[in-house]
Symmetry: C2
Subunit: 292 residues, 2 copies
């Protein structure tokens, strides 16, 4: 299926996408899955490109999952842009798009939920109660409906990627998890479907996230190993852009998310803030190349 | 693999059993899975026989799952009889036994758990807090490790079978669930690995469960539709055998487990009691043939 870039075929039921995946696998083909909520940007497209280079069949799922939004969150406003998404995927040669209606994923009798514990508790877990249970539940459902060989996620949602790795390991889900680098705008802003919410002024403010992380990167490269010093610098950058409130600026162990005092190249800096009505997150592993 | 009844091959890692299942499926074969805690009896063997008649490859799992036992439960005492289990399976021509060590299923970093809610809340859910979360978690792990086409469970654990059906539907697990009739001793006692705990005197007492259900069956067959009347009769039979405590005697809707006032042929009678130190459960769908 690799030879003919074309508009992906859209299916809407679990039975359909499972038949696609299973048929491919029974022919000895590998299947790559990219779970998304649509409103696709270059970050999503980088996942789809990688999947297409690594797998015989590529499936993108588009589903705005209600259970991962809290009561005050932007479920109703979240951008739904299926036609544009399909157009964006066409040049990549993605084979299938799975875009189920809500009731296909959550029928009226649905009662099951997943708790991953551990890595889901701090940071986002504290600021968005219930969010990760919703994420875990929908990802597991998608991997059930479309039991791909590899599933692709972005490092932008770093804590989410840890939760998915943990869940898949714990539940023996037969899918390999691939976590891919953050894609940034030329000015450094991490790609996010929520960036469309930002006014011009807010978008300028929002650059403080990547600038703060870039400065953290520079400090570490210059020999600074004090987490307190690096955290202070990030907070200064955010404050200078009048970003408020800041949910957290954290320098943590990349595996268990515990705060560190001394950073090393594996330490990850994680930021969550509000810019106007928009909540933004960003992160950077200090020892990795700064790609902004 | 159907033509040569022989001792099943035993594997102990998830990677091994997944390779077995996946290889069979890629050859177009169907795989049947029977999850058990070992200490196999005729009930388990009936599941294995059915699997073997319906599937190309049959896998029995033997794993005493620690997370489904509560603090006061019999995890330490639970019978572990692998050699006898393999001998019992040999005449059936079961192909594979998956008997992982505890640490293969729960490594030290395991944090994930499943909550099915709904049907897990009353009855056993009230008397064995945490039990069903442990059951849901291990069943999902086993279906992840060995993604069979059909998995077989006994109706003896009726509420468990509802939970598994619900979980598999909710999480889009690509495995069909088959629930099979209770197998009884000639005197009516439902087969259970825990029956070995009973002294001769307790075993006589324990016959009151099936006798109570048989009388319930007879009352309904004779036209009685009052749940209160049928429940009273079951309780009388249990009391006459001096069974105490009784956790519950319930006449419920078979789908949602809510108590009914008027029974019909779909109504299920569920009993849980303690006989000495042994907790026993049994059940009967009023409109089904009494097989005791």
């Amino acid at each position: 299926m690799k030879d003919s870039p074309r508009t992906a075929e859209v299916v809407t039921t679990c039975a359909q996408i499972r038949a696609v995946v299973t048929a491919a696998q029974r022919e000895g083909k590998t299947v790559g899955l990219i779970p998304t909520m649509g409103a696709l940007h270059a970050g999503h497209l980088s996942l789809a490109s990688l999947a297409r280079s690594q797998c015989d069949v590529t499936v993108v799922t588009i589903f705005v999952n209600p259970t991962q939004f809290g009561p005050g969150d932007d479920f109703a406003e979240y951008p739904r842009t299926l036609e544009a998404d399909l157009a964006a995927l066409a040049p990549l040669g993605v084979d299938w798009v799975f875009a189920p209606p809500t009731e296909e994923m959550y029928d009226s009798r649905h009662t099951t939920s997943i708790s991953v514990g551990g890595v889901t508790e701090p940071l986002e877990g504290r600021h968005r109660p219930g969010h990760f249970s919703g994420v875990a539940t929908i990802v597991l459902k998608l991997l059930g409906a479309a039991p791909a060989d590899i599933a692709y996620f972005g490092q932008k949602d770093y804590q989410q990627s840890l939760l998915i790795r943990r869940m898949v390991a714990d539940l023996k889900v037969p899918t390999e998890i691939c976590v891919c680098p953050i894609v940034r705008e030329p000015d450094g802003l991490a790609m996010s479907s929520r960036n469309v919410y930002l006014s011009d002024a807010e978008r300028m403010q929002a650059l403080a996230l990547s600038r703060g992380l870039s400065e953290a990167h520079g400090l570490f490269a210059g020999g600074q190993t004090s987490a307190a010093a690096i955290r202070s610098r990030i907070r200064e950058v955010l404050a200078s852009a009048k970003i408020d409130p800041i949910d957290y600026v954290a320098l943590v162990d990349p595996e268990n998310l515990t705060e560190v005092d001394e950073v090393d190249e594996s330490t990850i800096a994680l930021i969550a803030v509000h810019v106007g009505k928009t909540r933004l997150i960003d992160n950077h592993v200090l020892g990795e190349r700064w790609a902004g």
